[in-house]
Structures are given as structure tokens and as C-alpha cells.
């Protein structure tokens, strides 16, 4: 596997050169930070997305790419390592969060990993994703596992709290040990075409994050058009977002393949101009193993192999893991599995 070892070398190199300030060494933050750039309005305004053409691409991709048997098991296991295991409910409690953290550290039954020949690998989810209130709880529960804690922030999910409070919220989460901050943008700025306001907001969020990586949640279900999605993606990247993320999981429509393709193409265009690689996180609605594979195919086809790793790809999901576990057990035993055969998260 020359391809694999080359990639590992590359990842290691980045790890060494990336500027991470202290704290726990995180396995999922290998990429260089996005320094951002000045707002380039003409680029934003030149953005064009054809809905039907976009839909055709995503509709035909599952017919063009598929993985079977061992390859499928491997791809699903890779997806596990990219999951931001998430609980964002109004009835969350510290014990609920701890249970989720335990699952993040041991997402797949060890006997299944052994049977897949993956027992020696450390398979964890990409991160734990919680509200600010549970950041400290999660950081403590995860200990030195290396799994980062991501905090949703800036008045999640609507993002309509007073601006100074949103900035304070980020700072509080960073202070509690969050290594990743999932901010929500003010959708009004997109819907009214106020790109400089969006840029300024995002720049300030990025500054408040300090060394914590920042993911910009666009709320694509609220933005409605792919053109809005593409423009918002560009502006957030220009303002320094390390990741762009589809949705809060609370909008009427969350991650879709069409939105994903649009955001991936924006990421590619940004890299084309700046050389900077931005991560992508679809969130909400990806609950079946067969669905996550289509997202992975899109990542690989549109952006490349590097974007299948957790430093550039995260999946915001809560129930997806359970379905993947069942598929993996089926792969090992040949018998269809049941949810109750796998520990709860």
C-alpha cells in the first residue's frame, strides 16, 4: 500500500509543522489552519450553481461508485473515525454526555474490530459534539483519549443572540477545553446579500476561537438556494473558517448530497486560489451506512483521498454509528445484526 504510507508521511509532516498551542495532542487536527483572506466580493458575486446539473451529478454518482465486502467494511470504519458523535438536545445531562464519550472512545465492539483485522488500530470517533454547558464534562470524560470536544456556539441553532454574547460564548467554550467550535452564521446576512457583515462576523468568531478549529455552520436548509450556499461557503472560508458545515440538524432540511457537492466545489475553488485545504462537515439526516458511503464517494471524487480523513471530513450524526455497527457485524458474521447487540452511546 504505497498510497497509504505516502499519505501517512504527509499527515505526519503536517502534524509536525502545524502550529498547535499546548494541550492534548489531537489526532484529528493535522491540516494547516486557514489564515483566511480579504473579502473578495467579485469572486463571491461571480458564483454560479446550476441546480439541475448539480442534481444530475449526485444522482448518478451512486451508480458510478460503490464499495463491496472488505472495502465496504473499511470505508464504513473510516466513516466512524470521522463522526462528530453528537448530542444537542434540550434534555442533555452530564451523565448522558459521559455515556456518549464512552461510546466515542469505543465506537465499535472490540470483537468485531478483531474480526476485521483492525483490533490493533485505535478506532475512535472524530470528536464529541455538545453544547457549551457540557464541554468541561466531555473534556474530562475523554481524558487523554485524544478525541477533541467540539462545542456548538454563537447562539446555536438560530444564531440570533447579541453579537458580543456570541463571542463570549466561544471564549467560554475554548476556556473549558473545546478544541473545535461549531459556530452558526447569521442567515440574515446571506438572505440579504450582506456579505461584508457575514465576513466580519466570521472573522471575529475565528479570532475568538484562538487555537480551536472553527467550523462554520451555514444552515443550508434556511439558505434555500445552492447559489446562496456556495456564496456563504466562500465568504466563511475567506474569513478563516477551518471547516464549513451544512446545518445545525434543526432546520427543516439538513445535509443533502446536492448541498454537499456545492460546498465541496467551493472548497475546491478556495484551494485552487489559495492552496488552503478546508474541511467539510455534513450534519443532520445521515443515519444509514449506505448514505454515508455516498458522502464519502463525493469527498473522494470531488476533493480527493485526503478529504476522507477526520482532519478534513467530519460527519455530524447521532444514530449513524449504530447502523454502521450493524453493517460491520453483518460483514463479519454474514448474519443481519440488531441494534441491541451493540452498546448504546
Amino acid at each position: 500500500m504505497p498510497g497509504g504510507s505516502q499519505l501517512e508521511a504527509e499527515v505526519a509532516h503536517r502534524r509536525d509543522t502545524a502550529d498547535h498551542a499546548g494541550g492534548v495532542k489531537l489526532s484529528n487536527h493535522a491540516s494547516l489552519r486557514n489564515p483566511g483572506m480579504a473579502l473578495d466580493l467579485s469572486w463571491v458575486m461571480d458564483t454560479r450553481v446550476n441546480l439541475s446539473a448539480t442534481e444530475r451529478r449526485v444522482a448518478t454518482l451512486p451508480g458510478r461508485r460503490t464499495v463491496k465486502k472488505d472495502a465496504q467494511a473499511a470505508w464504513l470504519l473510516k466513516a466512524v473515525t470521522c463522526i462528530d458523535l453528537t448530542t444537542l438536545n434540550s434534555d442533555d445531562t452530564p451523565e448522558r454526555v459521559k455515556r456518549l464519550c464512552a461510546k466515542a472512545m469505543s465506537p465499535v465492539r472490540p470483537d468485531i474490530l478483531d474480526a476485521l483485522g483492525m483490533g490493533a488500530r485505535s478506532i475512535t470517533t472524530g470528536a464529541i459534539c455538545v453544547y457549551h454547558r457540557y464541554v468541561a464534562t466531555a473534556v474530562e470524560a475523554l481524558g487523554n483519549s485524544g478525541i477533541p470536544v467540539a462545542a456548538v456556539s454563537t447562539g446555536f441553532p438560530a444564531g440570533l443572540s447579541p453579537h458580543h454574547l456570541k463571542v463570549k460564548e466561544i471564549e467560554a467554550s475554548v476556556a473549558d477545553g473545546a478544541k473545535e467550535i461549531d459556530i452558526v452564521i447569521t442567515r440574515e446576512h446571506v438572505l440579504t446579500g450582506n456579505w461584508s457583515a457575514l465576513y466580519d462576523e466570521m472573522t471575529e468568531y475565528r479570532a475568538a476561537c484562538g487555537d480551536a478549529h472553527v467550523k462554520a455552520i451555514l444552515g443550508t436548509g434556511d439558505l434555500k438556494t445552492l447559489r446562496n450556499v456556495a456564496k456563504a461557503s466562500l465568504v466563511c472560508m475567506m474569513a478563516g473558517a477551518d471547516f464549513i458545515k451544512t446545518s445545525t440538524g434543526k432546520e427543516g432540511v439538513n445535509a443533502t448530497l446536492a448541498v454537499t457537492l456545492t460546498m465541496l466545489r467551493a472548497i475546491r475553488a478556495y484551494e485552487e486560489r489559495t492552496g488552503i485545504k478546508i474541511g467539510y462537515k455534513p450534519a443532520g439526516g445521515i443515519s444509514a451506512a449506505k448514505d454515508v458511503l455516498n458522502y464519502q464517494f463525493l469527498m473522494k471524487e470531488e476533493l480527493g483521498r485526503e478529504w476522507l480523513e477526520p482532519d478534513l471530513f467530519r460527519i455530524g450524526a447521532s444514530s449513524l454509528l449504530a447502523d454502521i455497527e450493524r453493517q460491520l457485524e453483518h460483514h463479519v458474521t454474514g448474519a443481519y445484526s440488531a441494534l441491541n447487540r451493540h452498546p448504546m452511546g
Binding site: L7, S52, T66, D70, G117
Partner: protein, 799 residues
Amino acid sequence: MTAAISDVAKYFDDMSYGPAPEADTEARAWLARHASGFGHFINGAFVPSASGKSFDTFEPATGKALARLSLGGKADIDSAVSSARKAQAQWAKLPGHARARHLYALARMIQRHARLIAVVEAIDNGKPIRETRDIDVPLAARHFYHHAGWAQIQDTEFADHVPVGVVGQIIPWNFPFLMLSWKLAPALALGNAVVLKPAEFTSLTALLFAELATAAGLPAGLINIVTGEGETGALLVDHPDIDKIAFTGSTDVGRIIRERTAGSGKSLTLELGGKSPFIVFEDADLDGAVEGVVDAIWFNQGQVCCAGSRILVQEGISALFHERLKRRMQTLRVGQPLDKCIDMGAIVAPVQLSRVESLVKKGVAEGATLHQAQIDMPKGGSFYPPTLLSGVQPTSTVATEEIFGPVAVSMTFRTPEEAIQLANHSRYGLAASVWSETIGLALNVAAKLAAGVVWVNATNLFDAAVGFGGKRESGFGREGGREGCYEYLKPKAWLGRKARTVSALPQIRTTVGEFSQPAIDRTAKLFIGGKQARPDGNYSRPVVSPKGKLIGEVGEGNRKDIRNAVVAAHAASGWASATAHNRAQILYYIAENLSGRADAFAARISAMTGASTSAAKAEVEASIARLFTYGAWADKYEGVVHQPPLRGVALAMPEALGVVGVICPPEAPLLGLISLVAPLIATGNRVVVVPSEPHPLAATDFYSILETSDVPAGVVNIVTGSAEELAKSLATHNDVDALWAFGTAELSAMVEKLSIGNLKRTFVDHGKATDWQDRAAAEGTLYLRRAVDIKNIWIPYGE
């Protein structure tokens, strides 16, 4: 643990795709059942060749022999045609509803056996299983459903038509099953029986279809499949008891078929090659357009007649577009046809592979820059990588020749006008793709492209309800939709036409002048570009009355006069874009002015033809009414809006053919001329008219009517002279788009035979006389339909 399981770790690290083969067990079992060789399928059963000759068909991905097929000879074709003839008589008598049930059963049958058909097709042709499974077979089933519907409503929707009869169909190897469906479904639905010859490389799904159709209850003899090579096809084309030939394939073979069927009376549709432009404007969704290229030229290994093989990119975005296109090429996967994780399979046969290779070499030698995806290629079999030839000059062979492989050529343009000019600068006119997010630009360009199908921000979309077919040397006729149905029907009104009786011209009796004041001598001239013109040769020909009296002289037009008239007609291209209201007004105005001189025209007709005064008056009155008819139609012969299965529409727009030659029948010197010219100019064509050879003076009188009726210069040009000579000049003129010729059977045969230079559309009467006073036979949609080509513009929408 075991070796197999450590593979998970390998895939986990390299995240490669791994093999994903579609099972071929059922398909191989079907082939094994026919291991002793396939017969032809005639009269409901497999029968061996009468000659006992056979040939092998090969698997493109491996080069291995796949099956043994019978080589069709004369006896096989004879037997297939006679079986079809017998079956057709009974089939046409069945009520439409009964035929609809059969077609419906075929559609259902295809869906029940979809996977088997898809797998056999992929093995036999080399194309990816994704395409056979997700595109070819579903579209084929859709075609049968759609045409089951036409069978059901045939008696009301096509009440004035009857089936053509026995149809010979020859289909290509690039979409064997889909093309079979495009051919069989309309033919059967509308009451015809078929002898079909599949391409020699790819006969298997046709034979499978015949087997399954019989099991689904289709009566014997309706579909007969005769396998074989080009010679088998030629036998079918030449067979005297065939009423129509429908061919899809190369332009070269299409030409041969046109020539061989000339004068036979066989109806003909040709769906031929293309070099379709794929136009990317600077305001396009570039990533969408790049993906469009993938669907345009790397679909079916580029072996697609309507492949967007000529990429035209606006200069300012050319570098970025090419960079993105090359990046995209790098992620294409070429592999075994049954691998479910590929974009391209195998080229159909080694001979095609070498053709592609040599054309690419030629392109490079002629200055193109070669880029090929650096990707893993399968070993063995006929595989060719996705290829881009950029910086291609219009002078290069690869800019004009159809490569029919996974090779796109690209060049740049500066303005929309230049894009249209480059796009239309081709002998072909099949399809085009336009990429722009500006609706005004995209639709304006779509309207101006010389193509039968235009896809806006899309490519290679097909649907049974949306007609498909080309302009120019891409052939004629449409498949799908209402217009496709007419290709398998003939008008009832023409069934009773009898052979025209030709009376010999009377001898001229010389008379001497009298000592009285004569009428002022009038010189009838040619009428070219809105001006009266002396004939180039400066000779005249006499016009005599039935009693032999010289009643005038007209110019003896020659091929230079035709040339000048064609130039003038082209210069009047604005007529096609004049408003329909404007064209209607002018037709009415011609009628008005003709009416003002009705008596003079009647007298002239009487003098030339010997018609009674009342008959001559009736001819003038019928001519005036006919002009009104086409004035009426001018703003009513409109297209339809199709609703194909996508969020969007396809606009079926009737478009003028362009410059049309008209050889008027000898009889009815005024009404014959009006009956042919009026529908053509009503729909925006410009005409070069050769008036009735024996009675041309009505036409030369008519130009003064044209001059006073605001007809723009060049819309109607009149060249008098020998019908045969001038028809020859028009038929061989490669800048004449169509030729309507009414007269002798020999004239029809000659016109059809000589039309092959640019494959112009011909409309002839095979020497059968039309009763020009019979409105059912002599006016209306029968003529309008032949005066236009339908262009389908696909417009997906959504934001």
C-alpha cells in the same frame, strides 16, 4: 486473522474502491442455452441461415468469442419480409387498444427482465453496466410505454393516416437495445411489421428481446430479426417488398442507403453522425459544465452519435475550464463493463479502437495538444483512455470528423456570435449543448444552433415523448413523440393517387404577324433576389398553347441562375426570423393582389393549358384560398411544450429548413406553384422555384404580384427552364437544404439519388399526380410538416 480480513486494513489505509462486479450468472446461462448458435428470428421462431453460414460475435472487454450468429442472406431476408407482410395485414386490422395491450406487455416484459437485458448488453457491447441498467433499459421500457399510448389513441390522433406497412430497420452497435426499442416501439404501435437487422458486433439483446417478446405473447411475424453484416443490411434495403427503411448509423452508410432507395418509393428516415458542439459561456456553472463534458463525451465511451465532442469555451475562462476538466479526467475510472464502480468500459471492437487511435494521432500531427487521463487501464480488451485534444483549429481533421470514441476536441470563442458561427460551421447538425446561467443568452443561442436537439445546461438527455433527430448530414426524420409517429404512417389522402399522364408537347405552329397594332411585347425574365433578371445563358424557351401557338417565351435558366438564386435565398435569411404575424400578412397580401388580377391569370392559364375559362378561374380562386390557408397557418403552426421526466421542459419548435428548391408539377401552373411555395414560405423558408415546365407564364406573371406584396427580396426566386436540368442543379447544390420535386417518376428518382451530397430533405411524388383542388391531399399539415424540422430544446430549470 485470515488474509481476507487484513484486506480491511489495507482498504482502510488506502481507501481504494475495490472490485464490485455485477453477477453475470443468468446472462451466461442464457448464452449457454444458445451455445450451438443463434438462428435468425423469423415468424416467431429461431431459424438457421438458409445458406448455413454463420459468424462469431466477440466480447469487447476480453476479445473472446461470445456467441455464434447466423449470417443473413437473400433467402433469409425474403422469408423475414414475407413473414412480416403476412403479420402486418392482421396487425393493422387490430383495434388500437389491442395493439396498446401488446406494447404495454412488452414494456412490462422489459422491466421484468431488466437486469438480464442490462447484463447481456454490457457483456456484448462493452459499455458499463451502470449505463445499461440505469439508462438504456429504463429508456427502452419508457419507449414502449409511451408508444403503447400512441397505439391506444391512434384512431383519433392519426385518423387521416394509415400504417406504412413493412419496415426494414437497421440499427447500430452503440445502443443496441435502446435503438431497437426506438425503432420497434413506434413501428409496432402504429400498425407496422418489422424486419430488423442488428449491428453485427451487437446482436444479442435483439435476439433476447425477440425471445422474450414471443413469451410475452407478441404474435409471430411482427418482429423478425435477421443477423448479419453490411451485406445483409443491403439486401434488406434493396428488398422490393419493403415500404420503409429506418436506419441509424454512420453518415457514409446513410448516403448509400439514400442512393439505393432513390426512386423506389420507400419512405426513409436516417439518424446519422454528428460532431455536436458543447458551448461553455463565461457565465456558466463551470463545475456543472465540466461534469456535463463527462456525460457528453465519456458516456458510452464516446460512441454516441449526439456526443458533445466539440467543446467551445469562451476565451476568458478557457484556462480555468481546461484545468478543471483535466482534474476531472483524472478521477474517471475505466474498467470491466460489469464493474459497478467505473465510468467507462470497452470500445466495441478492435477496428473501432484503431480508428480512434489513428484519428487522435492525426489530431496531434495537425497541431492539437493531447491530454489523456493518467489512470489505471484494464489489461486486454479494447480500452481507450479519456482523451482531450485542446487548441484544435477548425482546419484540423478532428474538428470536423466524427471520432466516435472518448475523445473531446476543444477550441475557444470570443463572443456569442462567434460561438454560434463555430458551432454551426459543420456538415452535421444533430445535437448541441449550451452552458450559461443567463437565460436570454442560453435561449438565444439555442434558437440559432443548427441542431435537432439542444440541451441547455445539460447533455445527452432523452425521452420517448421528445423527438430526436438531426439536421443537415446528421440525417432526417425524428424518433419519439408525435413527430416520430408520422415517420411510420402515410396519409390516406395520397393513397388513391394515380400515375400522372404526360401528354407530349404540341408542335409549334408558326404564325405570321398582322398589319395591326400588336400588344406590347413583354419579356418574361427570371426573378432572383427581388429583381427581374435575364438568364445567365441568354437563351429563351418557347411557351406554346395546346394547339401549338407560341404564346410567349421564358428564360432558359441554367445552373448559374440556380446558383445566383440560392445566394439570393440565403441572403434573405431574415425571413425565418420575421414574425409569424408578418409572414401571415404577406401571404394574405399576395392573395389580395392576385385576386385583383384574377381574370388576367385565368386567361393566361387558359391560354397555356387550354383549360376552360371556368376551370381556369377555379384554379385562380383555389390559389387565392390556398394562400389564405397558409396565411392562416403561418401564425398557428406551432411547437409543443414537452414535459419529459425532469424539472423543466423541452420545447419542440418547428424551424424552417432553410433554402428549399421547388420543382413545380407540369399541371396546374398557378395552383401547383402556390400549393408548394406557400407552406414553405409560411414557415420561414426561402425558395428557388422552377415553375411548370410546359406552362411557366403564370409564374413569370406572378413575380409582379410578389413585387407588389412586400415579399422581401430573395424569399421567392423563380427560375424558368427545364425541370430536369434545374432539378439536377438544385439536387446537387450543397447549399440547398431541401428539394421538393413534383413531376415524373424519373424526376423523383433523380432528385432522391442526387440529394446525397448534403443529404438534403426531399419531398417527391414518384410520378403520381396530386389533385391540387383536393384540400385533403393538397394543403395543410401534410405540407407544413415537410416544410420544417422540429428542434427540441431541453430546458431544465430550478434554483
